[in-house]
Protein backbone atom coordinates (compact mmCIF):
# COMPACT_ATOMS: atom_id res chain seq x y z
CA UNK A 1 0.00 0.00 0.00
CA UNK A 2 1.52 3.30 -1.03
CA UNK A 3 1.74 6.27 1.33
CA UNK A 4 3.25 8.68 -1.20
CA UNK A 5 1.77 10.44 -4.19
CA UNK A 6 3.68 12.28 -6.90
CA UNK A 7 1.81 14.98 -8.79
CA UNK A 8 3.29 16.18 -12.08
CA UNK A 9 2.14 19.69 -12.90
CA UNK A 10 2.70 22.58 -15.26
CA UNK A 11 4.89 24.19 -12.61
CA UNK A 12 6.66 21.44 -10.76
CA UNK A 13 6.55 17.95 -9.29
CA UNK A 14 4.74 17.87 -5.95
CA UNK A 15 5.00 15.12 -3.38
CA UNK A 16 2.30 14.27 -0.86
CA UNK A 17 2.46 11.80 1.98
CA UNK A 18 -0.10 10.05 4.11
CA UNK A 19 -0.04 11.39 7.66
CA UNK A 20 -2.59 8.94 9.04
CA UNK A 21 -5.93 7.46 8.16
CA UNK A 22 -7.71 9.81 5.78
CA UNK A 23 -5.03 12.46 6.17
CA UNK A 24 -2.64 13.33 3.37
CA UNK A 25 -0.51 16.46 3.02
CA UNK A 26 1.82 18.00 0.49
CA UNK A 27 5.36 17.83 1.81
CA UNK A 28 7.78 18.68 -0.98
CA UNK A 29 8.19 20.04 -4.49
CA UNK A 30 10.83 19.32 -7.09
CA UNK A 31 11.56 21.33 -10.27
CA UNK A 32 9.42 24.20 -8.99
CA UNK A 33 8.47 26.42 -11.91
CA UNK A 34 9.23 23.81 -14.55
CA UNK A 35 6.73 21.91 -16.66
CA UNK A 36 6.77 18.28 -15.49
CA UNK A 37 4.95 16.15 -18.05
CA UNK A 38 4.88 12.89 -16.13
CA UNK A 39 6.70 10.76 -13.58
CA UNK A 40 7.51 7.07 -13.33
CA UNK A 41 8.18 5.07 -10.18
CA UNK A 42 10.07 1.94 -11.19
CA UNK A 43 9.07 -0.64 -8.60
CA UNK A 44 11.91 -2.95 -9.72
CA UNK A 45 14.65 -0.76 -8.24
CA UNK A 46 12.77 2.13 -6.63
CA UNK A 47 14.04 4.75 -9.08
CA UNK A 48 11.94 7.80 -9.92
CA UNK A 49 11.95 9.38 -13.35
CA UNK A 50 10.63 12.87 -14.10
CA UNK A 51 10.03 14.00 -17.67
CA UNK A 52 10.31 17.75 -18.10
CA UNK A 53 9.10 19.83 -21.00
CA UNK A 54 11.07 23.04 -20.96
CA UNK A 55 9.46 24.36 -24.12
CA UNK A 56 12.27 26.61 -25.32
CA UNK A 57 14.99 24.22 -24.19
CA UNK A 58 13.35 20.93 -25.16
CA UNK A 59 12.24 17.78 -23.34
CA UNK A 60 14.52 16.45 -20.61
CA UNK A 61 14.57 13.44 -18.32
CA UNK A 62 15.75 13.33 -14.72
CA UNK A 63 16.26 10.30 -12.46
CA UNK A 64 16.38 10.01 -8.69
CA UNK A 65 17.61 6.94 -6.87
CA UNK A 66 16.89 8.37 -3.42
CA UNK A 67 13.21 9.25 -3.69
CA UNK A 68 13.74 12.82 -4.71
CA UNK A 69 16.59 13.82 -2.40
CA UNK A 70 18.84 14.23 -5.43
CA UNK A 71 18.17 14.17 -9.16
CA UNK A 72 20.44 13.69 -12.15
CA UNK A 73 19.70 14.65 -15.71
CA UNK A 74 19.95 11.61 -17.98
CA UNK A 75 19.59 10.95 -21.69
CA UNK A 76 16.69 11.69 -23.97
CA UNK A 77 15.58 9.92 -27.13
CA UNK A 78 16.72 11.28 -30.48
CA UNK A 79 14.73 10.99 -33.67
CA UNK A 80 16.54 9.83 -36.79
CA UNK A 81 17.75 12.40 -39.27
CA UNK A 82 15.21 12.64 -42.08
CA UNK A 83 16.41 12.04 -45.62
CA UNK A 84 17.65 15.22 -47.26
CA UNK A 85 14.71 17.32 -48.39
CA UNK A 86 12.16 15.04 -46.74
CA UNK A 87 9.20 16.86 -45.25
CA UNK A 88 6.80 14.51 -43.55
CA UNK A 89 3.15 15.37 -43.37
CA UNK A 90 0.33 13.79 -41.43
CA UNK A 91 -2.91 12.41 -42.81
CA UNK A 92 -4.27 15.95 -43.10
CA UNK A 93 -1.20 17.40 -44.77
CA UNK A 94 0.29 19.04 -41.70
CA UNK A 95 4.03 18.84 -41.17
CA UNK A 96 5.30 16.32 -38.61
CA UNK A 97 8.77 17.18 -37.30
CA UNK A 98 11.34 14.42 -36.83
CA UNK A 99 12.38 15.62 -33.41
CA UNK A 100 11.48 15.00 -29.81
CA UNK A 101 8.67 17.26 -28.67
CA UNK A 102 7.62 15.66 -25.39
CA UNK A 103 7.60 12.47 -23.35
CA UNK A 104 4.04 11.15 -23.17
CA UNK A 105 4.57 7.78 -21.49
CA UNK A 106 7.25 5.95 -19.50
CA UNK A 107 6.93 2.26 -18.67
CA UNK A 108 9.31 -0.24 -17.07
CA UNK A 109 10.16 -3.54 -18.70
CA UNK A 110 9.52 -6.78 -16.84
CA UNK A 111 11.17 -7.85 -13.60
CA UNK A 112 13.47 -10.05 -15.68
CA UNK A 113 14.67 -7.00 -17.65
CA UNK A 114 16.33 -4.74 -15.07
CA UNK A 115 17.15 -1.34 -16.48
CA UNK A 116 14.82 -1.71 -19.44
CA UNK A 117 12.50 1.26 -19.92
CA UNK A 118 10.06 2.13 -22.66
CA UNK A 119 9.17 5.68 -23.65
CA UNK A 120 6.32 6.91 -25.81
CA UNK A 121 6.76 10.37 -27.22
CA UNK A 122 5.34 13.10 -29.37
CA UNK A 123 5.52 12.88 -32.33
CA UNK A 124 4.59 9.20 -32.53
CA UNK A 125 7.89 7.76 -31.31
CA UNK A 126 8.59 4.63 -29.30
CA UNK A 127 12.00 4.18 -27.69
CA UNK A 128 13.64 1.79 -25.28
CA UNK A 129 16.55 2.15 -22.93
CA UNK A 130 18.56 -0.76 -21.56
CA UNK A 131 20.48 1.34 -19.04
CA UNK A 132 17.77 2.98 -16.93
CA UNK A 133 17.40 5.94 -19.23
CA UNK A 134 21.02 6.91 -19.79
CA UNK A 135 20.76 6.15 -23.51
CA UNK A 136 17.78 5.48 -25.77
CA UNK A 137 17.14 3.61 -28.98
CA UNK A 138 14.24 4.25 -31.31
CA UNK A 139 12.01 1.35 -32.34
CA UNK A 140 12.52 2.09 -36.01
CA UNK A 141 10.19 -0.65 -37.23
CA UNK A 142 7.28 1.36 -35.85
CA UNK A 143 8.55 4.73 -37.02
CA UNK A 144 9.10 3.35 -40.52
CA UNK A 145 5.76 1.53 -40.66
CA UNK A 146 3.73 3.04 -43.52
CA UNK A 147 0.54 3.06 -41.44
CA UNK A 148 2.30 5.22 -38.86
CA UNK A 149 2.02 8.07 -41.31
CA UNK A 150 -1.77 7.88 -41.07
CA UNK A 151 -1.65 8.86 -37.42
CA UNK A 152 -2.85 12.36 -36.54
CA UNK A 153 -2.66 14.73 -33.67
CA UNK A 154 -5.20 14.11 -30.94
CA UNK A 155 -4.55 15.66 -27.56
CA UNK A 156 -1.65 17.56 -29.11
CA UNK A 157 -0.79 18.93 -32.52
CA UNK A 158 1.26 15.86 -33.38
CA UNK A 159 0.28 12.22 -32.81
CA UNK A 160 1.68 10.68 -29.66
CA UNK A 161 2.11 7.36 -27.84
CA UNK A 162 0.61 7.69 -24.37
CA UNK A 163 0.09 4.09 -23.22
CA UNK A 164 2.59 1.22 -23.20
CA UNK A 165 1.59 -2.19 -21.83
CA UNK A 166 4.33 -4.78 -21.40
CA UNK A 167 2.63 -8.18 -21.15
CA UNK A 168 3.30 -9.67 -17.71
CA UNK A 169 3.37 -13.18 -19.29
CA UNK A 170 5.69 -12.35 -22.16
CA UNK A 171 7.73 -9.18 -21.99
CA UNK A 172 8.39 -9.29 -25.73
CA UNK A 173 4.71 -8.63 -26.33
CA UNK A 174 4.24 -4.90 -26.02
CA UNK A 175 1.12 -2.89 -26.82
CA UNK A 176 0.94 0.82 -27.45
CA UNK A 177 -1.99 3.19 -27.81
CA UNK A 178 -1.81 6.31 -29.93
CA UNK A 179 -3.77 9.53 -29.94
CA UNK A 180 -4.76 9.45 -32.63
CA UNK A 181 -3.77 6.27 -34.38
CA UNK A 182 -5.19 3.17 -32.70
CA UNK A 183 -3.69 0.27 -30.78
CA UNK A 184 -0.61 -1.57 -32.05
CA UNK A 185 1.02 -4.70 -30.68
CA UNK A 186 4.40 -6.26 -31.27
CA UNK A 187 4.88 -9.93 -30.33
CA UNK A 188 8.64 -9.76 -30.80
CA UNK A 189 9.85 -6.72 -28.87
CA UNK A 190 9.41 -4.27 -31.67
CA UNK A 191 10.35 -6.15 -34.79
CA UNK A 192 6.84 -6.38 -36.22
CA UNK A 193 3.59 -4.58 -35.47
CA UNK A 194 -0.09 -5.21 -36.13
CA UNK A 195 -3.16 -3.11 -35.44
CA UNK A 196 -5.50 -4.37 -32.71
CA UNK A 197 -8.62 -2.25 -33.01
CA UNK A 198 -11.26 -4.79 -34.07
CA UNK A 199 -14.53 -3.65 -32.53
CA UNK A 200 -13.44 -0.08 -31.94
CA UNK A 201 -15.53 2.61 -33.55
CA UNK A 202 -14.81 6.27 -34.23
CA UNK A 203 -18.09 7.96 -35.07
CA UNK A 204 -16.30 11.30 -35.44
CA UNK A 205 -14.44 10.03 -38.52
CA UNK A 206 -15.69 10.14 -42.14
CA UNK A 207 -18.06 7.18 -42.74
CA UNK A 208 -15.47 5.24 -44.72
CA UNK A 209 -12.97 5.46 -41.87
CA UNK A 210 -15.14 4.83 -38.81
CA UNK A 211 -13.57 1.40 -38.22
CA UNK A 212 -10.10 2.10 -39.61
CA UNK A 213 -7.30 1.43 -37.09
CA UNK A 214 -5.76 4.84 -37.57
CA UNK A 215 -9.07 6.60 -36.90
CA UNK A 216 -9.27 5.23 -33.40
CA UNK A 217 -8.37 7.64 -30.65
CA UNK A 218 -7.76 5.64 -27.48
CA UNK A 219 -7.22 8.24 -24.78
CA UNK A 220 -5.75 5.71 -22.39
CA UNK A 221 -5.25 1.93 -22.41
CA UNK A 222 -4.57 -0.42 -19.47
CA UNK A 223 -4.08 -4.16 -19.14
CA UNK A 224 -5.08 -5.97 -15.93
CA UNK A 225 -1.81 -7.23 -14.40
CA UNK A 226 -3.46 -10.18 -12.63
CA UNK A 227 -5.68 -11.18 -15.54
CA UNK A 228 -3.79 -9.94 -18.57
CA UNK A 229 -6.31 -11.09 -21.17
CA UNK A 230 -8.53 -8.22 -20.01
CA UNK A 231 -7.90 -4.70 -21.25
CA UNK A 232 -9.72 -1.41 -20.90
CA UNK A 233 -9.60 1.63 -23.14
CA UNK A 234 -11.08 5.05 -22.53
CA UNK A 235 -11.55 6.07 -26.14
CA UNK A 236 -12.59 9.40 -27.61
CA UNK A 237 -15.73 7.61 -28.68
CA UNK A 238 -16.43 5.88 -25.38
CA UNK A 239 -15.30 2.94 -23.29
CA UNK A 240 -14.04 -0.31 -24.84
CA UNK A 241 -13.09 -3.57 -23.16
CA UNK A 242 -11.29 -6.64 -24.40
CA UNK A 243 -11.37 -10.06 -22.75
CA UNK A 244 -9.38 -11.86 -25.44
CA UNK A 245 -5.99 -10.23 -25.04
CA UNK A 246 -6.77 -7.21 -27.21
CA UNK A 247 -7.70 -9.33 -30.20
CA UNK A 248 -11.16 -7.70 -30.20
CA UNK A 249 -12.95 -4.97 -28.31
CA UNK A 250 -16.51 -4.54 -27.07
CA UNK A 251 -18.01 -1.10 -26.73
CA UNK A 252 -19.57 -0.25 -23.37
CA UNK A 253 -22.58 1.98 -23.91
CA UNK A 254 -25.17 3.86 -21.85
CA UNK A 255 -22.74 5.00 -19.20
CA UNK A 256 -24.01 7.89 -17.07
CA UNK A 257 -23.28 10.75 -16.73
CA UNK A 258 -21.00 10.42 -19.77
CA UNK A 259 -19.03 7.76 -21.58
CA UNK A 260 -16.42 10.33 -22.58
CA UNK A 261 -13.27 11.00 -20.62
CA UNK A 262 -9.52 10.58 -20.69
CA UNK A 263 -8.15 8.30 -17.95
CA UNK A 264 -8.86 4.71 -16.96
CA UNK A 265 -7.29 2.47 -14.33
CA UNK A 266 -7.97 -1.21 -13.77
CA UNK A 267 -7.78 -3.15 -10.52
CA UNK A 268 -4.48 -5.05 -10.28
CA UNK A 269 -6.19 -8.42 -9.70
CA UNK A 270 -9.87 -8.06 -10.58
CA UNK A 271 -10.21 -7.45 -14.32
CA UNK A 272 -13.89 -6.53 -13.99
CA UNK A 273 -13.16 -3.51 -11.78
CA UNK A 274 -12.10 -0.28 -13.45
CA UNK A 275 -12.41 3.44 -12.79
CA UNK A 276 -13.06 6.38 -15.13
CA UNK A 277 -13.53 10.14 -14.79
CA UNK A 278 -16.39 11.15 -17.08
CA UNK A 279 -16.71 14.54 -18.78
CA UNK A 280 -18.83 16.22 -21.42
CA UNK A 281 -17.50 15.25 -24.82
CA UNK A 282 -15.31 17.30 -27.12
CA UNK A 283 -17.76 20.15 -27.51
CA UNK A 284 -16.93 21.35 -24.01
CA UNK A 285 -14.64 19.02 -22.02
CA UNK A 286 -15.92 19.87 -18.58
CA UNK A 287 -17.64 17.76 -15.92
CA UNK A 288 -21.32 17.12 -16.54
CA UNK A 289 -23.42 19.71 -14.67
CA UNK A 290 -20.29 21.04 -12.97
CA UNK A 291 -20.09 17.94 -10.76
CA UNK A 292 -16.79 16.10 -10.35
CA UNK A 293 -17.43 12.35 -10.20
CA UNK A 294 -15.61 9.06 -10.71
CA UNK A 295 -17.27 6.11 -12.40
CA UNK A 296 -16.51 2.61 -11.16
CA UNK A 297 -17.57 -0.70 -12.60
CA UNK A 298 -17.16 -3.96 -10.69
CA UNK A 299 -18.86 -6.21 -13.21
CA UNK A 300 -16.88 -5.72 -16.37
CA UNK A 301 -18.85 -2.69 -17.53
CA UNK A 302 -22.39 -4.03 -17.19
CA UNK A 303 -23.10 -1.43 -14.52
CA UNK A 304 -21.33 1.64 -13.17
CA UNK A 305 -21.47 3.40 -9.84
CA UNK A 306 -21.02 7.17 -9.95
CA UNK A 307 -18.87 8.04 -6.94
CA UNK A 308 -19.03 11.56 -5.58
CA UNK A 309 -18.66 11.61 -1.78
CA UNK A 310 -16.09 14.27 -0.96
CA UNK A 311 -15.93 15.65 -4.50
CA UNK A 312 -17.32 19.07 -5.49
CA UNK A 313 -20.87 18.73 -6.73
CA UNK A 314 -21.45 22.12 -8.28
CA UNK A 315 -19.68 24.91 -10.14
CA UNK A 316 -16.65 22.68 -10.66
CA UNK A 317 -14.94 22.57 -14.06
CA UNK A 318 -12.03 20.27 -13.40
CA UNK A 319 -10.88 18.23 -16.36
CA UNK A 320 -8.74 15.16 -15.69
CA UNK A 321 -6.09 14.25 -18.24
CA UNK A 322 -5.26 10.70 -19.32
CA UNK A 323 -2.37 10.20 -16.91
CA UNK A 324 -3.94 12.06 -14.00
CA UNK A 325 -5.83 9.14 -12.40
CA UNK A 326 -3.79 6.60 -10.44
CA UNK A 327 -4.40 3.44 -8.48
CA UNK A 328 -1.99 1.91 -6.01
CA UNK A 329 -0.82 -1.69 -6.12
CA UNK A 330 -3.52 -2.85 -3.69
CA UNK A 331 -6.37 -1.42 -5.73
CA UNK A 332 -7.67 0.44 -2.67
CA UNK A 333 -6.05 3.84 -2.96
CA UNK A 334 -6.88 6.12 -5.84
CA UNK A 335 -5.92 9.67 -6.67
CA UNK A 336 -6.67 12.09 -9.44
CA UNK A 337 -5.67 15.62 -10.33
CA UNK A 338 -7.27 18.22 -12.55
CA UNK A 339 -6.48 20.98 -14.98
CA UNK A 340 -7.53 23.49 -12.36
CA UNK A 341 -5.06 22.25 -9.78
CA UNK A 342 -7.22 20.10 -7.56
CA UNK A 343 -6.11 16.69 -6.31
CA UNK A 344 -8.33 14.16 -4.57
CA UNK A 345 -7.42 10.88 -2.87
CA UNK A 346 -9.53 7.90 -1.87
CA UNK A 347 -8.52 5.18 0.57
CA UNK A 348 -11.51 2.96 -0.05
CA UNK A 349 -11.56 2.30 -3.78
CA UNK A 350 -13.35 5.52 -4.56
CA UNK A 351 -16.26 5.36 -2.13
CA UNK A 352 -15.02 8.47 -0.28
CA UNK A 353 -12.64 11.20 -1.39
CA UNK A 354 -10.53 13.71 0.50
CA UNK A 355 -9.14 16.89 -0.97
CA UNK A 356 -5.37 17.07 -1.04
CA UNK A 357 -5.05 20.36 -2.92
CA UNK A 358 -7.16 22.96 -4.69
CA UNK A 359 -4.62 25.46 -5.91
CA UNK A 360 -1.82 23.55 -7.55
CA UNK A 361 -0.74 24.31 -11.11
CA UNK A 362 -2.59 22.35 -13.83
CA UNK A 363 -2.04 18.64 -13.17
CA UNK A 364 -0.65 16.49 -15.99
CA UNK A 365 -0.19 13.19 -14.15
CA UNK A 366 -0.33 11.48 -10.76
CA UNK A 367 1.32 8.27 -9.54
CA UNK A 368 1.69 6.45 -6.26
CA UNK A 369 5.35 5.93 -5.38
Amino acid sequence: MSDQLLVSTRKGLFSARRQGKGNWALEDVFFLGDNVSLTLHDSRDGAWYAALDHGHFGAKLHRSRDRGATWEEIGVPAYPTPPEGHVEKDFLGREIPWRLIRFWCLAPGSAAQPGLLWAGTLPGGLFWSEDSGDTWQMVESLWNMPDRRKWMGGGADAPGIHSICVDPRDSNRVAIAVSSGGVWITPDRGQTWTAHTAGMRADYAPPELVYAPESQDPHRMVQCPGAPDTWWVQHHNGIFRSTDNAMSWTEIVDVKPSVFGFPVVVHPKDPDTAWFVPAIKDERRIPVEGRVVVNRTRDGGRTFETLHRGLPQGWAYDLVYRHALALDATGERLAFGSTTGSVWISENSGDDWLTLAEHLPPVHAVIFA
Partner: protein, 89 residues
Protein backbone atom coordinates in the same frame (compact mmCIF):
# COMPACT_ATOMS: atom_id res chain seq x y z
CA UNK B 1 38.47 35.24 -29.58
CA UNK B 2 34.64 35.32 -29.55
CA UNK B 3 32.91 35.50 -26.23
CA UNK B 4 29.72 33.53 -25.70
CA UNK B 5 27.09 34.38 -23.09
CA UNK B 6 23.79 32.75 -22.25
CA UNK B 7 20.45 33.94 -20.97
CA UNK B 8 20.01 33.69 -17.23
CA UNK B 9 16.91 31.56 -17.83
CA UNK B 10 19.15 28.86 -19.24
CA UNK B 11 21.64 29.08 -16.41
CA UNK B 12 18.85 28.00 -14.08
CA UNK B 13 18.79 24.57 -15.76
CA UNK B 14 22.34 23.85 -16.86
CA UNK B 15 25.83 25.21 -16.32
CA UNK B 16 26.73 27.80 -18.94
CA UNK B 17 28.84 30.68 -17.64
CA UNK B 18 30.16 33.23 -20.13
CA UNK B 19 33.29 31.99 -21.82
CA UNK B 20 35.80 32.78 -24.55
CA UNK B 21 36.21 30.22 -27.32
CA UNK B 22 37.86 29.87 -30.69
CA UNK B 23 35.68 29.65 -33.77
CA UNK B 24 35.12 31.30 -37.12
CA UNK B 25 31.42 30.42 -37.28
CA UNK B 26 28.56 30.18 -34.84
CA UNK B 27 28.76 26.38 -35.06
CA UNK B 28 32.45 26.28 -34.26
CA UNK B 29 32.04 28.71 -31.41
CA UNK B 30 29.14 26.84 -29.84
CA UNK B 31 30.92 23.52 -30.23
CA UNK B 32 33.75 25.04 -28.22
CA UNK B 33 31.31 25.79 -25.41
CA UNK B 34 29.68 22.35 -25.62
CA UNK B 35 33.09 20.76 -25.15
CA UNK B 36 33.30 22.54 -21.82
CA UNK B 37 29.64 21.96 -20.88
CA UNK B 38 28.30 18.88 -22.73
CA UNK B 39 24.84 18.94 -21.14
CA UNK B 40 24.26 22.40 -22.60
CA UNK B 41 24.07 21.13 -26.18
CA UNK B 42 20.59 19.62 -25.86
CA UNK B 43 19.20 22.82 -24.41
CA UNK B 44 20.32 24.96 -27.34
CA UNK B 45 20.27 22.54 -30.30
CA UNK B 46 17.86 19.77 -31.27
CA UNK B 47 18.97 16.20 -31.96
CA UNK B 48 19.91 17.11 -35.52
CA UNK B 49 22.18 19.97 -34.51
CA UNK B 50 19.81 22.74 -35.56
CA UNK B 51 18.96 25.64 -33.30
CA UNK B 52 15.85 24.83 -31.29
CA UNK B 53 12.73 26.51 -32.65
CA UNK B 54 12.30 28.70 -29.59
CA UNK B 55 15.95 29.65 -29.21
CA UNK B 56 17.79 32.62 -30.67
CA UNK B 57 21.47 33.36 -31.22
CA UNK B 58 22.81 36.86 -31.80
CA UNK B 59 26.26 37.78 -33.09
CA UNK B 60 27.08 41.32 -32.08
CA UNK B 61 23.39 42.05 -31.75
CA UNK B 62 22.35 40.54 -35.08
CA UNK B 63 20.26 37.33 -35.13
CA UNK B 64 21.87 34.47 -37.02
CA UNK B 65 20.40 33.69 -40.42
CA UNK B 66 21.41 30.03 -40.73
CA UNK B 67 19.56 28.34 -37.89
CA UNK B 68 20.20 24.83 -39.23
CA UNK B 69 23.89 24.72 -40.05
CA UNK B 70 24.88 27.71 -37.89
CA UNK B 71 27.30 28.81 -40.57
CA UNK B 72 27.12 32.54 -39.86
CA UNK B 73 30.59 34.00 -39.60
CA UNK B 74 31.89 35.15 -36.25
CA UNK B 75 34.52 37.88 -36.47
CA UNK B 76 37.33 37.91 -33.95
CA UNK B 77 36.30 39.58 -30.69
CA UNK B 78 32.57 39.13 -31.39
CA UNK B 79 29.99 38.79 -28.69
CA UNK B 80 27.66 35.83 -29.16
CA UNK B 81 24.51 35.83 -27.08
CA UNK B 82 22.23 32.80 -26.73
CA UNK B 83 18.71 33.42 -25.46
CA UNK B 84 15.20 32.09 -25.73
CA UNK B 85 12.92 33.54 -28.39
CA UNK B 86 10.10 35.41 -26.71
CA UNK B 87 7.45 33.27 -28.32
CA UNK B 88 4.24 32.79 -26.42
CA UNK B 89 4.12 36.31 -24.89
Amino acid sequence: MPRVAFTRNLQRHVACPPCAVTGATVRESLEGVFTLYPKLRGYVLDEHGALRFHMAVFVDGVPVTDRRELSDAVPEASEIFVMQALSGG
